[in-house]
């Protein structure tokens, strides 16, 4: 358990202690181990209803994403390819992230408006869209950490200082660094997606 640090730095007395209800109100972060999950539950079915009303306009009926709005389902097996699609099913290592993010940030433009049960249901539904659970599934605080996530092993901590050690170079080449003159292999101009300066926004 937590113990106070040995040598406590001097306090100024500024600020005030938080009220427990204040801490509760703002403690909406959820961790992979389930810390921070509120009591509650929600089924794929319930989630589907809410999703179609509040989410599908942007994310598509099946989480496929409308227009350029984010895709929420699919993409399994795409990570090594030309067009990686990163979804809960294909990429996200932990389920807690979906619960946490939907609760704090969605629906876009009406954040923090969902009840805890609704967030459980929506999380269940997004899992279903990603073939992670059957249509009959109900998500609860209790079963939350038991769902295996396909890409949980797909991440490792930053190792650039060892794996990219070669970029530390005490003697970078200064002259005749390549045998042949460089040739142009690509031009932004050809792709032609740069906004025109002259048609850009103006300060009036």
């Amino acid at each position: 358990a937590a113990v106070p640090a040995a040598a406590q730095p001097a306090k100024t007395g500024l600020g005030r202690e938080a009220h427990p209800a204040e801490v509760a109100a703002w403690s909406i972060a959820v961790r992979p181990d389930g810390q921070g999950l509120p009591p509650g539950r929600g089924s794929v079915k319930q989630g589907e209803d809410i999703f179609q009303t509040q989410c599908a306009a942007c994310h598509g009926e099946f989480g496929e994403g409308a227009g350029r709005w984010p895709v929420l389902a699919g993409g399994r097996g795409s990570l090594k390819g030309e067009n990686p699609e990163k979804t809960l099913g294909s990429f996200w290592p932990y389920l807690s992230t979906t619960f946490d993010y939907v609760r704090r940030a969605m629906p876009y433009g009406n954040a923090q408006s969902l009840s805890n049960d609704e967030v459980y249901a929506l999380t269940a539904y997004i899992m279903f869209l990603n073939d992670l659970v059957p249509e009959s599934f109900e998500l609860t605080r209790e079963n939350f950490t038991s769902i295996p996530m396909p890409n949980v092993g797909g991440f490792y901590d930053d190792d650039r200082e060892t794996s990219e050690r070669a970029f530390w170079n005490p003697n970078p080449c200064m002259s005749d660094c390549r045998p042949t003159p460089p040739r142009v292999t690509g031009r932004a101009r050809v792709i032609d997606v740069t906004p025109e300066g002259r048609s850009g926004p103006r300060v009036e």
Binding site: T12, A18, K80, F91, A111, D158, N169, P172, R187
Partner: protein, 410 residues
């Protein structure tokens, strides 16, 4: 150094000065309106703005990049700036739920989690803490240059490198607030949370939080701009911009990271083997030539000033090299202005241009000895799916007519 012969890097005298014109310039020989009549008096502009002739100097976005401008980005016009400080009105914006407009008297900052007592501070409280500090730090979005992984895509350093700014901050060390709440010995991570409608969150190692993070209310001398987190933002020197939580409302202290959406779905670096690096916080050394560049072509033969910016999340810039021949030959640039740790650093090369084609590159070296890699060196170890942390060397092709474009070379 064959490649340098044509477009000499050294500023040598280029013959005689131009003779007087056949006829005098009427802008000199006739009294101009501004030299005759009265202009605006004091108090016409209680808070001033740039000249009417500088309206092109603005942040710009790339509309096709995002579905909505409330979760989008715009870019600092680096090619229009000089020195190391970014004017507050031109610091690039990145929002996930638009700009939170917060009345400072209504803002609260909570410290909770593994602390002796959870605490609540007002903005006024923060300004009363001892140990107030001032620092200039760069803030670079980890996705800066992210559109360029697969090749040259956007024609202008504003778009390729404009997700960076450099600002003077005033605030207090985050450590001061953590000390006030009393951090427990088993604490290892912090969660920083914003008050905006994305409830922006990032996990930050406690060690970094105690080392040099700041809680600030002031940028470039005045209150933070709303786009930059007014009334309070977190400063995480040298680390990716997304972690510098704006509209900071809460710091939770814990013993594990939270694996939030912005550190799993986003801001992880997908490599060629399908696995991803996570917690890639530090921004590697990087540089860009801002002038000339596609939006700021060369206009004259003869003397010209090449200028650019270099920065490193690991400390001070120790050297910047510039090549005019696509990396065959290099010469160290002249650095001018303060060289501060984790701050943009300004470099110049005064050169004579004889009108020949050039492939301009710059290469930053920081005090740890890290040398900015070429794009191909980077692709070799990372693939092209990383999105983030593209610090590869940029190439500008300058044509004989001065036009300048973003190219890839091989």
């Amino acid at each position: 150094a064959a490649g340098l012969a044509g477009a000499g890097l050294a500023a040598t005298a280029t013959g005689l000065r131009a003779a007087p014109p056949a006829a005098p310039d009427p802008l000199i020989t006739t009294v101009q309106d501004w030299a005759r009549t009265l202009g605006d008096g004091v108090q016409a502009r209680p808070y001033g703005s740039p000249s009417q002739y500088e309206k092109h100097v603005v942040r710009r976005d790339v509309e096709w990049l995002t579905a909505s401008r409330e979760s989008s980005v715009n870019f600092t016009p680096l090619h229009e700036l000089d020195g190391i400080i970014t004017p507050s009105g031109l610091c690039f914006e990145r929002h996930h739920g638009g700009i939170a407009e917060i009345e400072p008297g209504k803002h609260r900052l909570m410290i909770n989690g593994l602390v002796d007592k959870p605490m609540v501070f007002t903005v006024e409280d923060l300004k009363r803490f001892p140990g107030r500090q001032n620092h200039a730090y760069f803030l670079e979005c980890a996705a800066n240059s992210g559109m360029e992984w697969r090749g040259a895509q956007l024609n202008g350093c504003q778009f390729t490198h404009g997700m960076v700014h450099n600002v003077w901050y005033t605030g207090i060390p985050l450590k001061t607030l953590l000390d006030e709440a009393g951090v427990r010995t088993n604490a290892k991570w912090l969660l920083a949370e914003g008050a905006d409608s994305s409830g922006m969150t990032r996990s930050i190692p406690l060690e970094k939080g105690l080392k040099d993070c700041l809680v600030v209310w002031s940028m470039n001398g005045e209150a933070l701009r709303p786009e930059q987190g007014y009334p309070v933002r977190l400063v995480v020197p040298g680390w990716e911009g997304n972690m510098w939580v704006k509209w900071l409302r809460r710091i939770e202290v814990g013993d594990q990271p939270w694996h939030q959406r912005e550190e799993t779905s986003k801001y992880t670096d997908l490599l060629a083997d399908g696995r991803s690096r996570r917690f890639t916080f530090v921004m590697d050394a990087k540089s860009v030539v801002t002038n000339p560049s596609p939006q700021a072509p060369l206009k004259h033969k003869g003397p010209n000033v090449l200028s650019g910016l270099a920065w490193s999340g690991r400390g001070r810039i120790s050297r910047v090299d510039v090549s005019l021949d696509g990396g065959r030959n290099w010469r160290s640039a002249r650095i001018d202005g303060p060289v501060l740790p984790m701050s943009l650093t300004r470099f110049y090369v005064d050169f004579d241009w004889n009108g020949q084609e050039m492939m301009i590159q710059s290469r930053a070296i920081d005090e740890t000895g890290y040398v900015q890699p070429t794009k191909d060196e980077l692709r070799k170890v990372r693939g092209v799916n990383s999105i983030y942390h593209n610090n590869g060397i940029q190439t500008w092709l300058v044509h004989a007519n001065g036009e300048t474009e973003n190219v890839e070379i091989g």
